[in-house]
Symmetry: C2
């Protein structure tokens, strides 16, 4: 039940981009250094985020990555789904016909429990936006100042 470094690093990178939103493209190198992440590894993650449309990139000198939507329109769930796949504790909940496998479609009590778990996970991840995170970080920074 762990998020891997893909999700963790990817979210941290996106959080950083949210803080810099509106300041033009940020080079990968800056993000990686600032967040203490291997540059090459982060590159792979940013590639996935770009292909999914969450960030856009500009090549060449002065290039870099930026959010393709405002921070309040990007949820943590969006990011995690791109980097970690569907948010589900059990494959049988992931649509795509896989549910037939267990042979207890109707009366599978465990499946209903897993579904409740999935719903509770998605409700947290889909209700938290990058803007939420940035705001929260700012609030607690002030409080500790």
């Amino acid at each position: 039940m762990r998020i891997s470094t893909r999700g963790e690093y990817g979210l941290r990178a996106m959080f950083y981009l949210a803080l810099k939103h509106g300041q033009g493209p940020i080079p990968l190198k800056t993000i990686a250094e600032e967040q203490g992440i291997s540059e090459h590894y982060l590159e792979q993650l940013m590639g996935a985020l770009r292909r999914s449309g969450l960030v856009s990139s500009v090549r060449g000198a002065q290039g870099g990555y930026s959010l393709s939507r405002p921070p309040k329109e990007i949820t943590v769930g969006d990011i995690i789904r791109v980097l970690e796949g569907p948010i589900t504790p059990m494959d049988c909940l992931d649509g795509a016909g896989k549910e037939a496998e267990c042979g207890f479609l109707g009366p599978c009590a465990m499946r209903r429990m897993w579904k409740r778990l999935q719903d509770s996970m998605e409700s947290v991840l889909d209700s938290t936006t990058l803007a939420c995170l940035a705001e929260e970080a700012l609030f607690f920074e002030e409080e500790h100042a």
Copy 2:
């Protein structure tokens, strides 16, 4: 964010034992056949569950496994923690001093988000007992009859 087969199989086995609770020890072979799980693999899981005190075992002929507490006193969370480790999306939430690692103890907005996720997961898993699952299964079986 997936439960592995350890948690899945282990829960299924425990659910089966809950249905048979009070009928004496159930041999591993029966559980494995009934639930379609590799006997040898399930053996390892039952070993862990025994060492954690959730089931007790009787060796020799007529032996087997049984729940060491009534089904309503065993939660899904109990089982998952034994077989999958602590329920947490991120290591830094798992006490034991690991939290210092990220260097953002106070103002880490992401950490607070992960904590909310963890809480929501634990609240589902810790509030569902084997008795709940058994009851639910019975209810839906009737409904579909």
